[in-house]
């Protein structure tokens, strides 16, 4: 009985048979990932700038942003943005508003991961030694120039491994968007499963595909960035 299941699980022929439909779903994982990443990086950077700002109200805003979104579970945020937020907006604006699943997915994941990335950015920014910033000020450089030319080039290198982890998590999180019917790989696997009634090879195929993809890309990115990072801290 057990070995029967095992054989069935390892027989990925069924997954391969549906590869065109299924792998097209991966494109949605990438779209959601790419657009959420842009949202998360932009908002996260703004929140990080808030958190390191000398002005207290801005520090507070940044902290509230981080705490709110970093502590919201992906799934809860997704459901809330997709089902509750449109209701709220409809009531406020007095007209019916709905979000396309893709839009909800991008808003929800973008917000949650902006919280994580903001902390990653902040750590990187604050890791640049104060003395270097003083040296820049002593040369007559202004705040924006110092951020762009002295802090960010180093902060990016320092925070890269952590940011990479954040991006890997974000990519993994894109697999829950099937729950609000974004037609990604997981969504399609469940559709095909309903038809074929053989969940084992289909879900195992999806699991292996995700694993290879994430593991491969993350390893490549790490190897590519490490030399560049090392150059300045010999």
């Amino acid at each position: 009985m057990f070995s029967q299941n095992l054989r069935e699980m390892l027989d990925l022929a069924l997954f391969w048979e549906y590869r065109q439909i299924l792998l097209a779903g991966l494109a949605f994982n990438f779209y959601v990932f790419a657009v959420s990443a842009v949202v998360a990086v932009s908002l996260g950077f703004l929140a990080a700038l808030g958190r390191v700002n000398p002005l207290r109200p801005l520090r507070w805003l940044g902290a509230i942003h981080v705490e709110t979104f970093r502590n919201a579970p992906d799934y809860v945020m997704l459901v809330w943005v997709h089902f509750v937020l449109p209701l709220l907006l409809s009531q406020m604006l007095g007209q019916r508003i709905t979000f396309a699943p893709f839009v909800s997915a991008v808003i929800a994941l973008g917000l949650v991961y902006s919280g994580y990335l903001a902390e990653t950015f902040r750590t990187g920014i604050q890791a640049v030694p104060k003395g270097q910033i003083e040296a820049a000020r002593a040369c007559g450089m202004g705040g924006a120039l110092i951020m762009r030319r002295i802090i960010l080039p180093q902060a990016v290198r320092m925070m890269l491994p952590e940011a990479m982890n954040n991006f890997v998590s974000l990519f993994k999180a894109t697999t829950i968007v099937s729950l609000i019917t974004v037609p990604d790989l997981m969504y399609r696997v469940s559709m095909v499963t309903q038809q074929e009634m053989r969940p084992l090879p289909l879900y195992t195929g999806a699991a292996i595909t995700y694993f290879l993809l994430i593991w491969g890309v993350a390893a490549l990115a790490r190897a590519g960035s490490e030399r560049w990072r090392r150059k300045i801290w010999a």
Binding site: C139, M141, Q154, K231, A234
Partner: protein, 261 residues
């Protein structure tokens, strides 16, 4: 005498106070540094030497008093109608362009090459054309005898070499005055010589310099004037022969005696 009155000193400090919370680090310091002269500031740690230097280029905001560069107040503007207006951060940054500073910890930017460190401010702050900035940068590196290291990253240099790059970086802004904040204190003893050598060269070339230092022999040899700070006040000031050789103040005498033993 009439001449001295008509041309303002390069740097003038008037009744400068600096307070950190309950601690008053500078308690009314006034002095002047003429163009082309070298002034050294000595004193025990905690006497306010570094704070005084950092107030001159407004890295620290003075609590009260004035710093004037070529007769112009750094911190505020006196309008013709007699009103006084605080200067913005941007305006103060403009003054800093003319005040080169060398720090104890070098503070080079590790992601830029040696030449990159030197040309950064001329390019981005002065807006100098690239070719001109590169030429200037190489000339400054030649002055600190590091031409061959132009394309290295700072992490690959010794402490003495890093500090010389920091000097070249400050020189590249062609400042009116160079401020040295214990430039050799973080160096191994065998590396201080090369940095002092460069500083000696600058002094010989007529660079206006304010030097906070613990190198008494160097200060005595190079300065036109020495200042001994104690508890945030100038306790002794004069030609190095007087300050180091025959100080009027007992405290200064004791301080120097302690250093010699």
């Amino acid at each position: 005498m009439a001449d001295a009155a008509s041309t303002p000193p390069c740097v003038e400090v008037v009744d400068l106070h600096k307070r950190f919370g309950p601690l008053e680090v500078l308690r009314g310091v006034s002095t002047r540094v003429d163009r082309g002269s070298v002034v050294s500031i000595i004193g025990a740690s905690g006497s306010g030497k570094s704070t005084l230097l950092r107030c001159i280029n407004y890295l620290e905001l003075p609590t009260s008093g004035e710093v004037r560069i070529d007769g112009e107040a750094v911190g505020f503007e006196r309008r013709p109608d007699g009103q006084v207006r605080k200067r913005s951060a941007r305006e103060i940054a403009r003054f800093r362009q003319d005040l080169g500073m060398v720090f104890q910890q070098f503070n080079l930017w590790p992601h830029l090459t040696v030449l990159g460190n030197v040309v950064e401010a001329p390019l981005r702050v002065r807006g100098m054309p690239k070719r001109e900035a590169m030429e200037l940068g190489r000339a400054c590196l030649a002055r600190v005898q590091l031409s061959e290291k132009a394309d290295e990253y700072p992490a690959r240099l010794s402490g003495g070499q890093q500090q010389r790059v920091a000097i070249a970086r400050a020189l590249a802004m062609q400042p009116k005055v160079m401020l040295f904040d214990e430039a050799t204190s973080a160096l191994d003893p065998e590396l201080t010589g090369e940095v002092l050598e460069v500083m000696r060269g600058l002094a010989a070339d007529g660079t206006t310099m304010i030097v906070v230092t613990h190198e008494m022999a160097f200060a005595r040899e190079v300065s036109d004037r020495a200042i001994y700070l104690h508890n945030g006040l100038i306790e002794e000031e004069g030609p190095p022969a007087q300050v180091f050789g025959d100080p009027k103040s007992d405290r200064c005498r004791q301080f120097l005696a302690k250093l010699l033993h």
